[in-house]
C-alpha cells in the first residue's frame, strides 16, 4: 500500500471506505448464517473478501452515476448507497424488500440510487451498463456508468462488443473486472487465456490491473478512469485481482463433492483480507485510532440488527402481487 501522501485520501475518507467495506462484510456474514439456518428462500453468492473493489469504485460515484452488478451483487448494492434494510428484506423475500420480494439476492436493484441491479446472467450487466453510459453521454451531465463483472464473465463475447462500441462512441463507461480467480469452480487459468486487462488494448481502451484487495489501489485506478469518463474521453477497464473467501454460492457444500481449492490458498488470501489490511494501514500511519474503528463496528452491528429486524418484521408479499409489474 502507498503512503498517505500519495493517496489523496484523508483519514476521514479512509474511515469512510473502511466503514463501507465493514458494512458489506457484516451484512453478508449475517446473510451467510441465515442461509445456513435455512432462512433464505433462494441461493446467495457472497462477496466476502472482495469488498475493496465495490467500495473503491463506488466511492467515486454519486446517485446520478450508474452501476450494473453481477450475481454476487450485495456488495455493489451497499457500496453504491443501497439501503441495508431494503437489501436484507429483499433477500428474505419480504414485501419490504427493495424489489418487494420479486427479485431476491440475484436481482437487488435501486434505480433511485443508480443501481441497475444484480444479474443472474453472467455478463448480462455489461450491456445494461453500456446503455446507461449512452444515456449518461446523451444527458451531458457528466455522469458515468460502471459495469462490474467477474473473470468468468470476461469470456463472454459481450465484453468485446462493449469495448468496441464504447470506445467508438467514447462512452463514459467503467469496465470493472473482479478477478477472484474462479469462474464458479474452475480456476481462472483453466478457462481464461491471457491477462484480462490486455483485452482492452486492441480497442485503445486504457486498462489497469490492480490489487483488488487494496481499497486504495482500486480507489486510485478508478479515480483516473472516472475523470477520463467524465471528461468525455471514453471507457476504461480495471482488472481487480481479488478472491472470494466464501464458496461460489452458499449452498455449494450440498452439491460439490470435490475440493476445488487448497486450504493454504484460502489462508493466504485471508491474510490479505482487504478490511484488515486497511486497518493495519491506518494503524501503521497513525491515521485513525482503533477506537474509531470500534465505533464503526458498533454502529454497523446496530445497522445489521436493524436491517434484520426490519426484514423479519416485514410480511411476505400478498400473492396477487405476483401478477403485477409485468407491464407499466
Amino acid at each position: 500500500m502507498r503512503t498517505p501522501s500519495e493517496t489523496n485520501l484523508s483519514a476521514e475518507d479512509l474511515l469512510g471506505l473502511y466503514r463501507r467495506m465493514l458494512l458489506i462484510r457484516r451484512i453478508e456474514e449475517r446473510l451467510g448464517e441465515d442461509f445456513k439456518r435455512g432462512d433464505l428462500p433462494g441461493p446467495v453468492h457472497l462477496y466476502i473478501g472482495e469488498e475493496a473493489v465495490a467500495t473503491g469504485v463506488c466511492a467515486h460515484l454519486t446517485d446520478a452515476d450508474w452501476i450494473a452488478s453481477t450475481h454476487r451483487g450485495h456488495g455493489h448494492f451497499l457500496a453504491k448507497g443501497g439501503d441495508p434494510k431494503l437489501l436484507v428484506a429483499e433477500v428474505y423475500g419480504r414485501a419490504g424488500g427493495v424489489c418487494r420480494g420479486m427479485g431476491g439476492s440475484m436481482h437487488v436493484a435501486d434505480f433511485s440510487k443508480g443501481i441497475l441491479g444484480a444479474n443472474g446472467i453472467v455478463g448480462g450487466g455489461i450491456g445494461l451498463a453500456v446503455g446507461a453510459a449512452l444515456a449518461a453521454q446523451l444527458d451531458r451531465k457528466g455522469a458515468v456508468s460502471a459495469a462490474f463483472f467477474g473473470d468468468g464473465a470476461a469470456n463472454q463475447g459481450v465484453l468485446m462488443e462493449a469495448l468496441n462500441v464504447s470506445a467508438l462512441w467514447k462512452l463514459p463507461l467503467l469496465l470493472i473486472c473482479e478477478n477472484n480467480g474462479f469462474s464458479e469452480f474452475s480456476p481462472t487459468g483453466t478457462v481464461t487465456v491471457g491477462a484480462i486487462a490486455d483485452r482492452a488494448k486492441p480497442f485503445g481502451v486504457p486498462a489497469a490491473a490492480v490489487d483488488g484487495n487494496d481499497v486504495i489501489a482500486v480507489w486510485q485506478a478508478t479515480n483516473a478512469a472516472v475523470r477520463r469518463a467524465r471528461a468525455g474521453e471514453g471507457p476504461s477497464l480495471i482488472e481487480c485481482r481479488t478472491y472470494r473467501l466464501r464458496g461460489h454460492v452458499e449452498s455449494e457444500g450440498s452439491f460439490i463433492q470435490e475440493r476445488y481449492r487448497a486450504d493454504e490458498e484460502v489462508a493466504a488470501w485471508i491474510a490479505r483480507d482487504p478490511i484488515a489490511r486497511l486497518a493495519s494501514y491506518m494503524d501503521e500511519h497513525a491515521l485513525a485510532p482503533a477506537s474509531a474503528r470500534e465505533a464503526i463496528e458498533a454502529e454497523i452491528a446496530t445497522i445489521v440488527a436493524e436491517a434484520v429486524a426490519y426484514a423479519t418484521d416485514s410480511p411476505y408479499p400478498a400473492p396477487d402481487q405476483a401478477r403485477q409489474f409485468m407491464f407499466a
Binding site: R100, A109, F111, A135, A328
Partner: protein, 323 residues
C-alpha cells in the same frame, strides 16, 4: 388520406415521434443509410447523437437498449432482420422482458425492437423466420405486427410511447405495399384488434402479412355465399381476445391464419383461447392455417408451397362450414 408505402409510413412514425419527444433515440446497423428505408433521413434531421449506426453486435445492442431505457431514454433498437433478434435474444429474454418485474415495478423499460420478418422473398431459412410466437411466450414484451401502412404508422407511434418493451415486426413482403394513411396525427392503441371486413358466417383471424391472402380468400368465399369476418389482431401481446371472441360468438366458426410454424404458433394460442371462451357458440372446430414445422426453403415453388395462400385459407373456411 395520403398514399404511402409501408416503409414510408414507418419512417413517418419514427420521424414524428422523434420530433415529439427528444428522449427517443434510435440505433442499429446501418440505420443512417437505411437498409430497409424506414430510417432514411432521420440522421440528418435528428443528428448523430440520437441516430446512430452501430457495429454488428446484436448481443450488446439489445442489452444497451435496456440500460439506456432504465437510465431514462426511449431507445428504438433497429435489428434489421427479425432473425437477428435470436442473436440478441439474451438481453431481450433475460433483461428486457423481466427487469421491471423482477425489480418490483421500480422502473419502466420503454424500448422498441424493430425488425423485418417472415417469408416470401426467397431469403431462405434464416432470414425468413416468423418468430412472433417466441416473443408472445416471453411475457413482459408486447408484440406488434402491422398489416397495412396506416396500422404500421399508428401502432409504431403507440409502441414508441409505450412504457414497456415492444417488438415491432414488419412483414418482409409488405414493405413496398402502399395504402392510405391519415394525414393528421393519429395513433392506434396496442392491444386492439380491427375488423377488416365484416361477415357473419365465419371469423377469419389473419396475422400480419396473412391479411392480404385472407382478404382475397374472403372475396372468393363471398362469391360462394360465405361471408367471412376478417379480423387483424395487430397486437399479439396483449391480445384483443374480446374482439375475436365476440366475433366467434356470432359466427360460431374460427379460422386463424398465421405465418408462424404451427407448433406453439399464435394460431394455436388464439384457437385455444377462443375455444375456451366461445365454447357454447362454436359450431365447428377452429382451424389453423400455418406453416408446417420446418424452416423456409429458398426455391420459390418450395417457399410458396409452405405459405398460407387464399386457396388454403378458403379451403379451411369451407371445412369449418362442412363444405
Amino acid at each position: 388520406m395520403a398514399r404511402r408505402r409501408m416503409i414510408q409510413a414507418i419512417n413517418e412514425a419514427l420521424a414524428e415521434e422523434m420530433a415529439r419527444d427528444p428522449r427517443v433515440i434510435l440505433f442499429g446497423e446501418d440505420v443512417e443509410i437505411s437498409v430497409m428505408g424506414d430510417t432514411r433521413g432521420l440522421r440528418a434531421t435528428f443528428g448523430p447523437d440520437r441516430v446512430r449506426n452501430t457495429p454488428i453486435c446484436e448481443t450488446v445492442m439489445t442489452g444497451m437498449a435496456v440500460g439506456a431505457a432504465a437510465a431514462g431514454w426511449r431507445p428504438i433498437c433497429h435489428m434489421m432482420y427479425g432473425n437477428f433478434l435470436y442473436t440478441g435474444m439474451d438481453a431481450i429474454a433475460n433483461q428486457a422482458a423481466k427487469l421491471r418485474y423482477m425489480t418490483g415495478g421500480q422502473i419502466k423499460v420503454p424500448v422498441v425492437y424493430m425488425g423485418v420478418f417472415g417469408a416470401g422473398r426467397s431469403s431462405a431459412a434464416q432470414h425468413s423466420d416468423a418468430m412472433h410466437p417466441m416473443f408472445m411466450n416471453l411475457g413482459g414484451i408486447k408484440v406488434v405486427l402491422p398489416a397495412s401502412p396506416a396500422d404500421a404508422k399508428g401502432l409504431l407511434k403507440s409502441a414508441i410511447r409505450d412504457d414497456n418493451p415492444v417488438i415491432f415486426l414488419q412483414a418482409a413482403g409488405r414493405g413496398g405495399e402502399a395504402g392510405d394513411v391519415p394525414e393528421e396525427e393519429y395513433t392506434i392503441p396496442l392491444g386492439v384488434a380491427e375488423v377488416k371486413r365484416p361477415g357473419k358466417d365465419v371469423t377469419l383471424v389473419a396475422i400480419g402479412a396473412m391479411l392480404r391472402p385472407a382478404m382475397r380468400a374472403a372475396d372468393a368465399l363471398a362469391g360462394e355465399g360465405i361471408e367471412a369476418e376478417v379480423i387483424d389482431p395487430r397486437t399479439l401481446m396483449p391480445l384483443d381476445e374480446a374482439t375475436i371472441v365476440a366475433s366467434v360468438q356470432r359466427t360460431g366458426r374460427l379460422v386463424v391464419v398465421d405465418e408462424a410454424r404451427d407448433a406453439c404458433s399464435a394460431a394455436s394460442h388464439i384457437a385455444a383461447v377462443v375455444t375456451e371462451a366461445a365454447w357454447g357458440a362454436l359450431k365447428a372446430a377452429p382451424k389453423r392455417v400455418t406453416v408446417p414445422d420446418v424452416a423456409i426453403p429458398y426455391s420459390p415453388p418450395l417457399e410458396k408451397s409452405l405459405l398460407p395462400d387464399p386457396e388454403r385459407i378458403a379451403a379451411a373456411v369451407r371445412a369449418t362450414l362442412g363444405r
